[in-house]
């Protein structure tokens, strides 16, 4: 009995500690995609809480009521094979719950895979985000600039990230703006995000990629479109040009701070955009459709 109270007090203690925490990143969305996912998570938590409470309730009730110490010495438990109605209920209710969750999942999956709602009519800002051991390279082809280990984005504009890797599989993740997606060496994956409010967010590689993985992070700063324009102009004016030699140097394994360049590496080190080419140099530049879903 004493053990049970000790257990309960531990549980309550843990919950108290957790209740005092700041909202966790994933549930503190700053963009439409992250918001969609946060809603899905809250709905699923609520529905799953029903299941958990039902099971816990039944367990506590049964274990207290039918314990041997509470029963008369001659009590002989009955032989029961099963009951179609009871079994219908324990199959039926889960089917309903899973069906509801399936509909929510399919709908929301299509939403987060598409251009964020409300931004369909404008042209998205395309950013090529690639990793090398253990750095992030962000190329803005239209703006003609490139950054390393930090990302500036305008608010209220659809963002289209095209992800690939110069090494092991990595994943591009800004929890407060949306879900993650893999970046691989032989194909490009596309991730649609948008930021609703200005601010600084954490971004990281979330797929284990070797020794420097823990520090494979980048800072994200969302700013008004006007500020973003100003920043782009300033970079173009002041930042050094990214040369092929410089880029090769950047690709070497190791950690770096932030750096900024005018020009991108996309011209001399094209992304693996051709489908089916899988790194075969001869037709890597051919574009037979990219991986937009």
């Amino acid at each position: 009995m004493r053990m049970k109270w000790a257990f309960l007090s531990v549980v309550i203690g843990v919950l108290a500690v957790l209740a005092g925490c700041e909202p966790v990143m994933v549930l503190d969305p700053k963009g439409p995609q992250a918001e969609t996912i946060a809603d899905v998570i809250w709905i699923s938590i609520a529905m799953m809480a029903i299941v958990v409470i039902a099971v816990f309730g039944m367990l506590v009730y049964i274990v207290t009521k039918y314990r041997a110490s509470k029963q008369s010495a001659d009590y002989e438990p009955p032989h029961i094979e099963g009951n179609p109605i009871v079994e219908g209920i324990i199959v039926g209710i889960p089917i309903i719950i899973i069906a509801v969750l399936s509909i929510i999942t399919v709908k929301s999956t299509y939403v987060v895979e598409a251009t964020p709602e409300g931004y369909e009519d404008q042209k998205p800002l395309v950013v090529y985000a690639s990793t090398s051991d253990w750095k992030w390279h962000f190329s803005y082809p239209e703006e003609g600039i490139e950054t390393v280990n930090y990302l500036y984005i305008p608010t209220d504009r659809a963002l289209e990230f095209r992800l690939y890797s110069y090494g092991p599989i990595t994943a591009f993740w800004i929890p407060q703006l949306g879900g993650q997606k893999y970046a691989m060496s032989d194909m490009i994956t596309t991730l649609h995000l948008a930021a609703d409010e200005p601010g600084e967010y954490m971004g990281r590689n979330s797929n284990f990629s070797g020794k420097g993985f823990a520090e494979n992070v980048f800072d994200v700063k969302a700013m008004s479109p006007k500020e973003f324009e100003e920043w782009v102009d300033e970079v173009k004016k002041t930042a050094p040009t990214l040369t092929e030699e410089k880029f090769e140097e950047l690709l070497l394994p190791g950690h770096l701070g932030r750096s900024t360049f005018s020009g991108t590496h996309l011209e001399f080190s094209p992304p693996p955009e051709g489908h089916g080419s899988h790194g075969d140099d001869a037709d890597a530049s051919e574009e037979h459709g990219d991986h937009d879903e």
């Binding site: 998570i41 816990f56 049964i62 009955p78 092991p168 993650q180 997606k181």
Partner: protein, 652 residues
Amino acid sequence: MTYFDRFAIPHPSPAIYASMVAIGLTVIAILFGLTYFKKWGYLWREWLTTVDHKRIGIMYLIAALLMLFRGGVDAIMLRAQTAVPDNTLLDAQHYNEVFTTHGVVMIIFMAMPFIYALMNFIVPLQIGARDVAFPRLNALSFWLFFMGAMLFNISFVVGGSPDAGWTSYFPLAGNDFSTSVGTNYYLLSIQIAGIGTLISGINFMTTIFKMRVPSMTLMKMPMFTWTALITNAIVVFAFPVLTVVLLLGTMDRLFGTHIFTMTNGGMDMLWANLFWVWGHPEVYILILPAFGIYSEIVSTFSRRNLYGYKSMVASIVIISFLSFLVWAHHFFTMGQGALANSIFSITTMAIAIPTGIKIFNWLLTMRKGRIEFTVPMLYTIGFIPIFTIGGVTGVMLGMASADYQYHNTMFLVAHFHYTIIPGVVFAMLAGLTYWWPKMFGYMLSEKIGKWAFWFIAIGFNVTFFPMFFTGLDGQARRMYTYSEATGYGPLNLLSFAGAIVLMAGVAILVYNIYYSTRYAPRNIGSDPWNARTLEWATQSPVQSYNFARTPHVESTEAFWDHKKKGKPLFKGKIEKIHMPNNSGMPFIMSSIFFVWGFSFVFSMWIPAIITTIAIFACMAHRSFEKDDGYYIPVEEIEATEKDSEVLTDETR
């Protein structure tokens, strides 16, 4: 590289050198002990060459407990490293090696032998058989597993541990990014152990289909045997995929093929696909026998028959089928598009339905029962709420859109520990305690066992519950460190504290084995728990031939009916029993496999060729060998069964 440089450890640390010394001393102590006490002959005759399924089961058990220790030490190191921000206990490379070996050891070399320990011991007894269908093959399975495990375990003192995660995704695991021989060890040791498992799968399917007593129809099999049957069916379908993917990986690393590389047409995600085509069914290979164990225990200690037997059987069959249709949920974030993700989401979540049926059936079995809180029952009752949390978070992870946020985070780590630890580890400890008297003829202390249970259950929750929150807060899995600014510090420290409590629980468990071995009473009879299934109709410990006469079965609980309704269990008179001879060949052949694997790890081609030839020579030897086994005469059986009810039965 000179010859000896290759065997050097690429990332040595004092801990590794200390381990080397410890391993060396242990080996010397064992060799000395065996010689001093003149036990070499005993060891060879009774254990190394045995084909008795019960002894093989016990050897699996010992191996599993050793590996639990190894994986547990790794786990403590991981939690200690992340207990505080910017910790420098382990460096990145060392941490990567530790979490990789923790995963591999726990899944392949701890959980798998644990389930095969119990299956080996119990399944033939539950179906009234003398042994498995192919006893010698069974020994080969064990020794291949064992040699695979040993090969994997020497990696950290000879040449370096694998460091690319237990999933070993290419190209990270390829030669370009994983330069030590660690991944070679991973590929070859799992290959050797996996072949053993595949053989076991065939062996047990045959056993259950062909060796049941004639009166036992499929729908009269006890639930544990049902889960064993379905588990081995999954093994037979899933393990060939593992064999192939490991072979392809080995070709990439040793022979310069470009199957998973970044260039020359390699496809990195092909590894992930093939790995999880095996890997997802694998988790059901682990969990289904656990479900079987809980079913036996819950009905024994509720003093009731299992509720909804037919729906239990149906649900495990459905789970086994669905387990092959969900592998892509391990990489929803690969960019395979909303359609594919939606399909795999639905199949994934659908597994919750048959699993839910089982949970409710266990609850309904306890209802109207007469629940006794023995140690096995405590694990079972503890399993239900903890596994429910694991299950519902599994449904949450199965929702593709939400998974984009959970993927690769501590949330996932929390989820799978919430399923695997109550699902597999609790089940194994419950089954171990439950069947211990059948294995060894005495019981484990209930009092110490309960202490161990509470430490393990509380420690487990304190360790893993915080991870749901750090995961949602953006902590990725496999990060060897984090800065204080992230705010993950306090919860990770709590996790570490929980891990210490969990470790204390395991220590109490070990003490229980020691204490009970010394002090537990021996005359406990053959049925100390007042159980319901056939294995309890044998003597404790079980005779080498299991049953002197074939039992007669009319329900899933033949022994219970025999006890309560007086239905005769054994009919006819005792006849001589045919038994297989012991054989040293499985042990010898597996030892050659060990050298074979080691040669390939280090690309030493001459020994590799010699051992390959030797392996085929062993097989050829077996195929020409004439070995008809031997008979146990009636008088000898009557003498050993003198006190058991097998003889008194006729007078009843």
